[in-house]
């Protein structure tokens, strides 16, 4: 346990908050600062902060982990350890489009594995990776909680139900031809926690 046993709010580190933004001036760091403040810079809030960081930046680059470690006064190794433990956090950039294939039990029984093979073959990328041109990230998930609709895919955030390998292929092709998400559009996305406030 050691360093993390105290639930009481900690005194803010001198160099943090107080209007001192990240030197890059990137406005997305403000979102992280907001979460840091909401949790009074408690070290226990590490996972919440990483959630915000990933929502704002899309993935957790090294600089971001350093920033979070610094703000929470945690060793970088600790932050890295937590970020790599959880599947949700990604340390590499994601493709422009994403396709997640559910490989939970219900979907597996309904032959989701065939969909995975079909997509892997068609787009030349292993599940868990992004195509060389950075267009498509192919991932598998462990149950998306829509088991009644198996097999389930999530394409750019939309749940699509009861897919055959052929239908899935057609949909992903369509997705790649459709409007590309621009970086500007990405940064306009506000994280859930911020919109709720």
């Amino acid at each position: 346990m050691g360093v993390l046993t105290d639930p009481k709010p900690r005194v803010k580190p001198r160099n943090a908050a107080g209007g001192q933004a990240h030197p890059s001036g990137d406005p997305r760091f403000k979102l992280i600062d907001r979460t840091l403040k909401r949790f009074s810079y408690q070290q226990d809030a590490l996972i919440e902060v990483l959630h915000t960081a990933q929502e704002a930046f899309g993935f957790l680059e090294d600089d971001l982990l350093v920033y979070v470690a610094h703000q929470l006064k945690l060793p970088l190794s600790w932050v890295y350890g937590v970020a790599t433990f959880y599947h949700f956090f990604s340390l590499a950039p994601q493709g422009e489009h994403s396709c997640i294939i559910c490989m939970g039990t219900a979907c597996y029984v309904k032959r989701a594995a065939e969909i995975v093979s079909a997509l892997q073959a068609e787009f030349g990328v292993e599940a868990g990776n992004t195509t060389a041109d950075g267009k498509l990230s192919l991932n598998t998930a462990r149950c998306l909680g829509s088991c009644g609709l198996a097999p389930v895919l999530v394409m750019d955030g939309d749940v699509v139900a009861r897919q055959t390998p052929e239908e899935a292929l057609a949909r992903v092709r369509e997705l790649l031809l459709g409007a590309a998400r621009t970086p500007e559009a990405m940064s306009e996305l506000t994280p859930l926690s911020a919109t709720e406030a």
Partner: protein, 574 residues
Amino acid sequence: MNRADLAAMAQREQDRQDAFRCRVLCCASTPCLSSGGTAVREAIEKAIKDGDLDADVQVVSTGCMGPCSRGPVVTLKMRGAEDVVYEQVTPEAATRIIQEHVAKNEPVKEFVFPNDAPFFAKQHKVVLANSGQIDPESLEDYVARGGYTALAHVLREMKPDEVCESITRSGLRGRGGAGYPTGIKWDLVRKSQSDKKYVVANGDEGDPGAYMDRSLMESDPHRILEGMAIAGYAVGAEQGFIYVRGEYPVAAKRLERAIRAAERRGLLGSRMVDSQFNFRIDIRIGAGAFVCGEETALMASIMGKRGQPVPRPPYPSQSGLWGKPTLINNVETFGSIAPIILNKAEWFAAIGTDKSKGTKIFALAGDVNTTGLIEVPMGITLREIVYDIGGGIPDDRAFKAVQTGGPSGGCIPAQYLDTPVDYESLRALGSIVGSGGLIIMDERSCMVDVAKFFLDFCADESCGKCAPCRVGTVQIYKLLDKITRGAATLADLETLRELCVMVQETSLCGLGQNAPNPVVSTLRYFYDEYEAHIRKHKCAAGVCALNEKPMSPAVVAPPRPKRKVARLDELEAV
């Protein structure tokens, strides 16, 4: 807000709803939305506008109504008439429902899902009573259906020990998997001496193929908050946490809103419901790790650490979050609390079997005609669930097995279809009730492949802390893989059995201790299939490739001498 205010609020909302001649409830949960629910709702609203029915008809977005594979589902509540459920509603059908049923009182028969269909008739809704009936984002709607009266009653009329005693008498057992008696757990935490205590709701729901908790959190969030607040009062805690799985952002959002709404009305927070009691609830979002469903790992995760379990004892009831006594229950367990308080423990105890009381929510999925969320009395048979509620297997194929309990459970074959579903009966069959996923499999599923699927899952999700789980699950997986490739010998089956026992007996937490269960149960009921893969190179379901051959006997090492538990250092070297 006090009890009179609560009653007044309920009355106001009830009057408001009664003023409409008709209420149209549209299921707005993920399954229905992804089968076209949004277009249906738009069509309904347009038809209402076109027919000038605005003052007469109210449209409400609700949570899950149950028959997910038959979505989009719409329920029509006409004043003075029984509810009518419509299934597989298209936008055209939706327009007709408004024009014919609402305007002229002529139901659109083709789309009606009859109320007396076994899907509904065999269910008993206690925890899901409000799901699909109320707007999950409306506190008033929950209050109008009796919400928060159990909490108000407890705070005013009952002492903490009476609450624990009442829950014990109800016979409620934990719905998160292990089935530990809830009242006893509460009493343990109540008796622990400490300046601070915590209540945690486990909404991590990591079992693949299960989505009861997600649906409950999304469809009726206040019920969970009320249950937690009652628990807080009973055990003497002022702070609660709900740990929501990272894959469920909608559930987290709804709970967050519900907490804010309840706090604003003084139903949560300090001196709530005009009492001396304070209770706050915060949400923590998981980050995708199955092991975080395990209670000690979950608490580590709430404290911002890697979700790795620690050995028990000490149990969380003595030393949990930040070393303080902590009550941890599944969200469905908390969902059962308010009805028990309102209807009395004896009422709950009268439902179900001798040792398993009350109702249980199951997620019915796989090769079955109607998939969805069901709540049934404990003790119902598997056959009733599969053939009556689920409507049987598609295309009249043969039922092969039902998988219960997720990666910690097992597969139950056809000859046990008449087994009552309760904690003890399923355990006797080598499976568990678990959190409530029921995956039906027909003859096209290969049992070796299914076992391999779960071991792949467990090997991947093992947190890596203890060697039996970290190494053992991988080795079991490799052996199963060898069988499905056709490269295994019968000696491998022996090794497989030995390894399973070793991993079960020596792992640190429930993940490893239960990981071999899918293999053990399929070996028990489907040994023939394993043998056919090895001896005849045949996979009856046609799933496995079987495109390799065992190495020649000269190359294969002689089988290791039998011993009950293999030594770890040897296993690491395999």
